[in-house]
Symmetry: C2
DNA sequence: AAAAATATGTCAACATGGCTGACATAAATT
DNA sequence: AATTTATGTCAGCCATGTTGACATATTTTT
């Protein structure tokens, strides 16, 4: 961390002089032009491009249903956590209940998700996929699984484990236990 | 791939019977409940959660500027590719020029990006970060670099290389050469 | 039993950032 | 001279996020 800060300061000083009338071309340098920094930028871009393509196929499929990415997320997590409460879903998605309400209503109206009053706590509306919901979930998951399967397979078991460790480490330390619990659910 | 298809069919058959009045709870199973499938779902969720947290800090910073994620992407790629053309930027972002026009106009008006007419082809408007633009780019990059640095460091050099390979393999084969060229740019 | 807290839903208004379609201009290419 | 290319722009639509206020049923606390 200290090296990043140092490099950042160095660049800042190098940039300021030129202010309003700076020569732009190769003169503009990002914070820290060292090799270590280059690798970090590369990783940042890999995350951008990887995620971009990772969601491209589901987006296309969703279009045919007149659904969006938001619907996909709801279907996925309800599929993975049958009977989850609205509050739990909000917690995972990190959106407001008003935002969720819209997509959830559409999914319920069109028969992809159903709600059941909680048995012990009757204030809860527990969420479940219907048959159609499970089918949609599948269809969306097929291209993503295939993409991930190919990518992981090429790296071997060690590489796969390292990839997981790194992805987990990208998550806020604070949320990591929650996420671990979610991803390590029964099939 | 064939195994996924097979598992998919099997689940489909197991789901249909219950149709409208299905018992939902643990009865709803995703396509393929095997161990291999579980790992794929885990990876899919790691990508979701990883990306979610990966963009959270920049989002907060951007809020102070009244900018959004779209502005970040433009600032980043212009910073990384000084003098890039609008067409090249559109190609990377995969959005329409009308969508880009909005954020680009705001960034230019507020002095974060400047345009220069192309020297050889005077139809082009080549894009550059101003000093303020480079500074913003830095500020947004700091938390992301730090996050990535920590995550990669914990895995060691082999793990880091494997992570990169897998991220690259997640990208459409068709676009992989372009992406490799972009991420392997000079500092 | 009454009061407070909780889980959920809803109405209304607004912002961002995608999209399509149509059209305009200047410069390069044919 | 005609066409293509790079870019810009106007207008309108849609999806999905936001805030704030308020309603209802149910559970928990006092």
């Amino acid at each position: 961390m200290s090296d990043i800060k140092t490099i950042g300061k160095a660049r800042s000083a190098a940039i300021e002089p030129g202010k309003g009338t700076r020569t732009p071309a190769p003169a503009v340098r990002p914070a820290g032009s060292g090799e270590a920094d280059r690798r970090l930028i590369e990783a940042i871009e890999l995350l951008f491009f990887g995620y971009r393509d990772f969601v491209s196929e589901p987006d296309t499929i969703l279009g045919a249903y007149e659904f969006g990415r938001a619907h996909h997320r709801v279907v996925h997590f309800v599929g993975r956590n049958p009977g989850m409460t609205v509050a739990e879903l909000l917690d995972i998605l990190r959106i407001t209940k008003q935002s969720l309400a819209r997509v959830l209503r559409q999914l319920i109206e069109r028969g992809f998700i159903e709600q059941k009053t909680g048995e012990t706590d009757r204030r809860q509306r527990r969420l479940y996929l219907t048959g159609a919901g499970a089918e949609l979930w599948d269809r969306l998951a097929v291209p993503q699984k295939e993409r991930v399967r190919k990518a992981l397979a090429a790296a071997g078991p060690h590489g796969e484990a390292a990839w997981r460790d790194i992805m987990l480490a990208l998550i806020d330390e604070e949320h990591r236990p929650d996420v671990e619990q979610i991803i390590n659910r029964e099939p």
